[in-house]
């Protein structure tokens, strides 16, 4: 990742807050799925996040398939720190404001 865009920074930020599922990230950042998922792919490729699967117990308990989740790696946290520096003001506002529009 040579340059972290604003949406990317938002996704990283959401991940750092423990929003590990695609839909949760979409809800948290108000970004559309067409933005969030490709970002997650690129983050994973660049080693900023690693992915795993929800435990079967949890998924099957809710009578649905397992969901894929994402976690920030150390490299991801570093990238977030750099991006945070850049988007400090936006993020502060964003942090306080929380989700502003409806998801998806």
């Amino acid at each position: 990742m040579r340059r972290i865009t604003y949406p990317a920074a938002c996704v990283l930020q959401a991940l750092s807050k423990g929003r590990g599922y695609g839909f949760d990230i979409m809800e948290h950042t108000s970004l559309p799925s067409g933005t969030v998922y490709p970002l997650l792919r690129r983050f994973e490729r660049a080693g900023l996040v690693r992915s795993g699967w929800e435990t079967p117990e949890e998924a099957f308990g809710n009578r649905r398939p397992q969901r894929r989740n994402y976690q920030l790696t150390d490299k991801g946290r570093e990238a977030l720190a750099r991006a945070a520096e850049r988007y400090r003001q936006h993020l502060e506002i964003f942090d306080d404001a929380g989700p502003r529009t409806r998801p998806a």
Binding site: P32, G34, P38, R42
Partner: protein
């Protein structure tokens, strides 16, 4: 991957629409990540769509459909971006290559045993080929270090019917040759000898070569100091001047810069030093085989071409060297020399009938004796390299089979054939480079070893070192090997049906089915390896048998506990016969008095020692069968009375020499039994008379058993012995029979000689047994190398068959398990596996025997008392090879019986 819950609630329409959409979009996603992608979206759709309140589902579904498509496209771009980046960027090829290299190294690290065997196999093949090629290069391909060396020839004279084929010329013959030819641009004459140098530390013997100025015209050479021999030195009446070699200048004069102009004393005569020769000029007797057989010349002396010298026909002690005119072949020169020889035998009585002159290229003269051996060795290492390549190819084939599924999966997820072939080639290149690197290391060590082992048996040894061209050869060998074994598995791979391989669950399609009856490329390689190694083994076996036979030959004397050395008596104090005889007598008396010495003797030229002394004798009452009057060519030897006893010669008739044979007494001689039978036939040799070495008639007083003179496989030469009291040799070998270890006396002997005359040097002190053993050095050298090669070849072949059978056992686990489950006894399994290996070995042995039958004829000249088709060697070596391969097959066969039928079946 995502598992669906066992019982799903009824799903909303939006979910079904999105699910159908997802399946449609999934084809965009590359195959290798497609499953994961679908599972992820499946999870998200259940969660995000099915779990939402009804009213919000459709809007969400529309946004998700767009997002899914964008995600699929993005993922595809991302997954395929590696390949595309390569084509776009300049550094792509390098990066691509480096990634291949990294991948290869990972693969090789994952299989350390496999890698080690291949690298070892390759390095043995490459290392031995390079080492032997280095020697061949230095000896046979490198020109001699002289200007226009390919046009230099050496001339020899001989007489048909004479046992001596290479004889030296007289100065008058040199003049005849020089003036009667149009084929030589230059001709030069030289003569060698040895003198004792005194006044510079301990007395030492110094080899010299006497030359005219044309010598340096022909062989080049520049002075480090002063000048070389020049035209002025050739003039009648010019005084003899000395040119030191660089070595003598350093060792005897400490490299003093003002040595030119000094006077040096050799054998009591003074010479002016006029110059020092350059350090690199070769003056070995391999190149300048002088009559006195001095190993290395340290001194160059001038030789005036006086009328007296140049008209001499009696002294046949001179070498003649020629440089061919440009464009003239050796054959043309030979034809012209034939004409000169014909002229000489008609014009002069001395050479007589049957006289011939032989023209030999100088390089042939130097390396001719070892050429055949080297060619055989070169062929052998070539075969060894072939076996090594075959082995490596086989190992890689087995591995490619075992990796078939991995490669098929990679092909399925989008790796192109070219990419896979490139990957395999990178891997084998890495192996070849590793093997080549270790191999070059082995070659350097091997050349050092060859220099050590071959010291006594290889001419021009000083020049041998790993050269640039040889390294190039190693590199070419390595690359050729790489291509051969790298392409085979890659080519096989391209015939694979990817789907079949993946379906077969990794057992591999090539190994499936009736593996035990299959004869494919791998079988062929193993058969070839066994056949080739058998050829080498038979070659090594024949040489071993030859050497054994040679070592059994009785030289005619007892060489054990016999110390020998040489000294020379020269200068004014030994000008008189009496002085030389007295010195020898006194020396023998003192040595005999030493504790532990049982006998002492002396001879002018010892068997198995360098030096020549021969000539014609006339025998009273003997008429040669052809009616000529040439007499008989015999070796002349002057011996002391103790010599025969020391050497353990048997006096068959008459007596040996004793106190009766005084200098002023009746001239007497002993002859060997073969000579006696030839010249005296039915007559009693005792009392017969011969003449030749000594001008007057000498009476034969005894007959001794014939002895081998220079080679164990040669016929004993006709020899006439004269008592030293009448012969008065100035150059003498002393033989000392000891009770204990002969070398222990070395110091005392030096001391005794110094006490008698501190100007006399003790030279070439060697146990007699060593001299005899050294005469076999060249054969032993060839034998050891061929033995080593054949053992390596056999081991490689064993590894080859072991690898193949092991591989087939592992591939055939299912079949073996099935057989055992159906009640096949262990012995049947072992028989089946062994039978498979032995079938390969059997075919290999039959082919190898046939090959050996054809090829070993080429080494007939290297064999002694053994037929190139010696049945015992063929049978015993084949048995050995069969035994080794049987063992190599037995290990995997035993493993096959340990297959648990249940495991084998469950693996399905």
């Amino acid at each position: 991957m995502a598992n669906h819950p066992e019982k799903a609630t009824s799903l909303p329409l939006a979910y079904h629409l999105l699910d159908a959409w997802m399946r449609a979009v999934a084809w965009i996603v590359p195959g290798m990540v497609q499953g994961r992608w679908r599972a992820e979206w499946d999870g998200e759709l259940w969660y995000g769509v099915a779990g939402k309140p009804r009213g919000r589902r459709l809007g969400t579904a529309a946004a998700l459909a767009v997002g899914m498509l964008r995600d699929a496209i993005a993922l595809r771009r991302l997954e395929l971006s590696d390949g595309r980046r390569v084509r776009r960027r300049g550094d792509g090829i390098v990066r691509f290559f480096l990634s291949d290299v990294r991948h290869s190294l990972r693969m090789l690290r994952k299989a350390p045993g496999f890698t080690a065997i291949i690298v070892l196999t390759l390095s043995l093949g490459i290392g031995s080929t390079t080492a032997i090629f280095t020697v061949v290069n230095a000896l046979m391909l490198n020109p001699l270090p002289f200007p226009d060396a390919d046009r230099l020839v050496v001339l020899w004279q001989g007489r048909t019917g004479m046992e001596i084929e290479k004889d030296w010329f007289s100065p008058a013959q040199f003049v005849d040759i020089r003036d009667r030819n149009d084929v030589f641009a230059d001709v030069t004459m030289s003569v060698g000898g040895a003198v004792t140098m005194t006044g510079r530390g301990l007395p030492r013997e110094v080899g010299f070569i006497r030359v005219t100025s044309s010598f340096f015209d022909m062989f080049g050479g520049t002075p480090t100091l002063g000048r070389l021999v020049d035209r002025g030195d050739d003039q009648d009446g010019a005084s003899m001047v000395a040119v030191l070699t660089h070595g003598l200048w350093q060792s005897a004069f400490g490299g003093e810069p003002d040595v030119v102009g000094q006077t040096i004393s050799f054998s009591g005569r003074d010479f002016e030093i006029v110059g020092v020769l350059e350090p690199d000029f070769l003056l070995d007797d391999e190149i300048f085989p002088t009559v006195s057989a001095v190993g290395h010349m340290d001194l160059v002396l001038s030789m005036a071409m006086s009328d007296a010298r140049m008209s001499t026909r009696g002294s046949e002690n001179y070498n003649i060297f020629g440089r061919l005119e440009p464009g003239v072949t050796v054959e043309q020169a030979q034809a012209e020399m034939d004409a000169v020889a014909e002229y000489l035998s008609e014009a002069y009585e001395d050479p007589g009938a049957g006289f011939f002159i032989q023209v030999t290229p100088l390089l042939d003269e130097v390396v001719g004796s070892v050429r055949q051996g080297l060619v055989v060795l070169l062929a052998s290492v070539g075969v060894l390299l072939l076996i090594a390549c075959g082995n490596v190819a086989n190992l890689l084939l087995s591995r490619a089979n075992a990796r078939e599924r991995e490669l098929a999966v990679r092909a399925a997820v989008g790796a192109g054939r070219g990419r896979l072939v490139r990957q395999l080639l990178t891997e084998s290149t890495m192996l070849a480079l590793l093997g080549g690197g270790v191999g070059v290391g082995l070659a350097v060590a091997g050349v050092a070893l060859l220099r050590g082992v071959g010291e006594l048996s290889l001419p021009r040894l000083g020049e041998i070192g790993v050269h640039g061209s040889v390294l190039t050869f190693a590199l070419v060998t390595t690359l050729a090997t790489t291509i051969v074994f790298g392409l085979l598995p890659a080519l096989r791979l391209s015939g694979i049906n990817v789907a079949d391989v993946i379906k077969s669950g990794g057992r591999g399609t090539l190994g499936g089915g009736a593996i035990w009856s299959r004869f494919n490329l791998s079988s062929g390689l193993v058969i070839a390896e066994i056949g080739l190694s058998l050829i080498l083994l038979i070659g090594g076996g024949l040489l071993t048998r030859s050497l054994g036979a040679l070592q059994q030959i009785d030289p005619g004397f007892a060489a054990e506990r016999l110390l020998t050395f040489r000294f020379s008596l020269s200068g004014e104090s030994y000008a008189e016969d009496a002085a030389r005889i007295e010195f020898v007598d006194e020396l023998e008396t003192r040595l005999a008095a030493l504790p532990g010495v049982s006998a002492v003797g002396g001879i002018s030229r010892l068997p198995f020692a360098p030096g020549v002394a021969w000539g014609n004798i006339a025998v009273e009452g003997y008429v040669p069968p052809d009616g000529g009057d040439d007499g008989v060519v015999v070796r002349f030897r002057g011996v002391t009375s103790g010599y025969f006893r020391t050497m353990g010669y048997t006096v068959l008739q008459g007596r040996g020499f004793d106190a009766r044979d005084r200098p002023d007494g009746l001239s007497v001689a002993l002859i060997d039994q073969r000579l006696a039978e030839k010249v005296f036939a039915e007559r009693d040799p005792i009392g017969g008379r011969i003449s030749g070495m000594i001008d007057e008639w000498a009476e034969v007083v005894g007959v001794v058993a014939p002895v081998k003179d220079g080679a164990l496989d040669g016929e004993p030469a006709f020899t006439a012995y004269y008592p030293n009291t009448q012969f008065a040799a100035g150059r003498m070998y002393v033989t000392v029979k000891t009770a204990g270890e002969p070398q222990a006396l070395a110091g005392v002997i030096q001391q005794i000689v110094a006490e008698l005359d501190d100007r006399v040097a003790v030279v070439d002190m060697t146990p007699m047994s060593q001299r005899v053993a050294d005469s076999l050095a060249q054969r032993r050298f060839s034998m050891r190398l061929l033995q080593a090669f054949s053992v390596i070849a056999m081991l490689l072949a064993a590894v080859g068959i072991y690898g193949l059978v092991s591989y087939r056992v592992s591939q055939g686990t299912h079949e073996l398990g099935m057989r055992m489950a159906l009640g096949a006894p262990r012995s049947a399994i072992i028989t089946m596996v062994l039978g498979h290996g032995m079938a390969l070995a059997g075919i290999g042995v039959v082919l190898g025997l046939a090959g050996a039958f054809g090829l070993t004829r080429l080494m007939t000249a290297m064999l002694y008392d053994v037929s190139p088709t010696d049945g015992l060697t063929y049978a015993s070596v084949s048995a050995l090879l069969v035994f080794i391969t049987l063992y190599a097959c037995f290990v995997p066969a035993r493993r096959a019986t340990r297959v648990d039928p249940l495991d084998a079946l469950r693996a399905e």
